[in-house]
């Protein structure tokens, strides 16, 4: 017997999907901004910061990069309350995403910083710029220009990875899919549609990031 697809059963739930989509979008945007902030601080510590800070950041980066996101999420949401750090599922999702992207972007931005020629730093200090001014205006700007493509694809990867936060009941797009299929038993149709939404989201996010690059970085 051949299975009859039925997408009509999804229509009554479009609001659930829309709410989930909104959560995924906000989650991605907020943790992207926060994660890149963490990554910039981490990259600074590893290149210009004191040695002990660099070592701490290296340990953080390696720990995050070599464990699955879902385990990090479970650790934060289930593990931390056991030692007294309690938070809701949305907060845990934001925190886990930020920590995760922070580690990856530390590595990416650090690579960009190390690619800045040393002469540029000397030129900066000969213009009597302070260490902070050199970092902010000379190093960081060039570093971001160099690693922007790598950073963009990492942001898309993190957005797709955010589907996992449904496992701690954070009400994202995947959570909406799970909810709907538990109501109308149209699992395959729901997941097919939601997969399509994620694909569209990935394509839109990439276009957005390209647009930002064109607006922020001068040609060349």
């Amino acid at each position: 017997m051949l299975y009859q697809m039925n997408f009509g059963d999804l229509l009554p739930y479009w609001q659930v999907l829309a709410r989930g989509l909104l959560f995924t979008v906000v989650l991605t945007l907020v943790s992207t901004v926060a994660g890149i902030f963490v990554g910039t601080a981490g990259a600074w510590a590893r290149t210009f910061g004191p040695k002990w800070a660099g070592t701490c950041v290296s340990i953080y980066v390696e720990l995050i990069r070599n464990t699955p996101f879902i385990v990090q999420l479970f650790f934060i949401f289930f593990g931390l309350p056991a030692i007294g750090v309690k938070m809701g599922e949305a907060e845990a999702a934001f925190l886990a995403m930020t920590i995760n992207l922070g580690a990856y972007s530390t590595e990416i931005i650090r690579a960009g910083i190390q690619a800045v020629p040393y002469g540029h730093l000397e030129a900066g200090s000969s213009l009597a710029m302070s260490r902070w001014e050199i970092f902010r205006h000379i190093v960081l700007k060039q570093a971001f220009m160099k690693v922007y493509p790598a950073l963009s694809s990492q942001i898309v990867i993190v957005m797709l990875g955010s589907a996992v936060v449904s496992q701690i009941s954070a009400e994202d797009l995947t959570y909406a899919a799970n909810y709907i299929q538990s109501r109308n038993f149209r699992a395959f149709e729901v997941y097919l549609v939601v997969t399509g939404i994620y694909l569209a989201l990935a394509i839109a996010l990439r276009a957005l990031l390209r647009g930002i690059a064109r607006a922020v970085f001068p040609k060349g």
């Binding site: 017997m1 299975y3 390696e62 720990l63 990069r65 070599n66 464990t67 699955p68 996101f69 879902i70 385990v71 990090q72 479970f74 650790f75 289930f78 593990g79 931390l80 309350p81 056991a82 030692i83 898309v156 797709l160 990875g161 955010s162 589907a163 996992v164 449904s166 496992q167 995947t174 899919a177 699992a187 395959f188 997941y191 097919l192 939601v194 997969t195 994620y198 694909l199 990935a202 394509i203």
Partner: protein, 216 residues
């Protein structure tokens, strides 16, 4: 009644790690085979084949692995076949891996100078012969480091199989947590075991990368 001491928890987690390793190996080996086929199509002369594989790669790289697992889990069941989490997880991870490996390897193939293609073509080699004898042996050298690096992603990817009920390391952690109510200990151990699996591979991949740069 069974007492959940530290050693019992650790023992159970390590037993479950076997399935994480086995699933990773299946996904990596089968994904490599499928990825090689996709690679051949991706760099072929036929525009239709290239477009098709670009779509294939985009589909698997542009959607969450978790969704792919759900689709395979519920999708294969629609064909009237009873799917075990084993089959669904292996299938989803294989195709997911193949898309990424094909794209990584494409970069390596395209790094080979065009003259190599032209020279081998002028020797009347067919496309398969060119790939087999000229391009791939050279591309292999630069492909090793990123391929080893990606194996870390595969191991981490298997953690998602826990969601469809595949009892590997993460799922075992969840079950032990439910039995012991010691989430901090359990998830710390789970994370450390993943770290012990992944870190040597990450480290080795980085070392290979460094060696390659020296060689050039």
């Amino acid at each position: 009644m069974l007492e959940f001491t530290f050693s019992v928890i650790l023992e159970n987690l390590l037993l479950a790690t076997r399935w994480t390793i086995l699933l990773s190996l299946i996904a990596f080996v089968l994904g490599g085979v499928v990825g090689l086929i996709v690679l051949f199509a991706r760099v072929s002369h036929s525009r239709a084949l290239r477009t098709l594989t670009i779509g294939y790669i985009e589909l698997f790289q542009g959607t969450p692995l978790l969704m792919q697992l759900f689709l395979f889990f519920f999708g294969v069941a629609l064909l009237g076949v009873e799917v075990s989490p084993w089959v669904a997880a292996s299938l989803a991870l294989t195709f997911w891996t193949s898309a990424f490996l094909a794209e990584i390897w494409r970069g390596c193939v395209e790094a080979i100078p065009k003259g190599q293609w032209e020279a081998s073509e002028s020797l009347a080699m067919t496309y398969t012969e060119q790939m087999r004898h000229v391009i791939l042996p050279q591309a292999l050298r630069i492909a090793v480091a990123p391929t080893v690096g990606f194996s870390v992603q595969v191991i981490k990817g298997t953690a998602l199989a826990s969601v469809i009920g595949f009892v590997e390391l993460t799922k075992a952690g969840t079950m032990l947590n439910n039995a012991t109510f010691r989430p901090f200990l359990v998830y710390t151990l789970v994370a450390l075991i993943y770290f012990a699996l992944c870190f040597p591979l990450s480290w080795y991949s980085k070392r290979l990368e460094g060696r390659l740069n020296v060689a050039r």
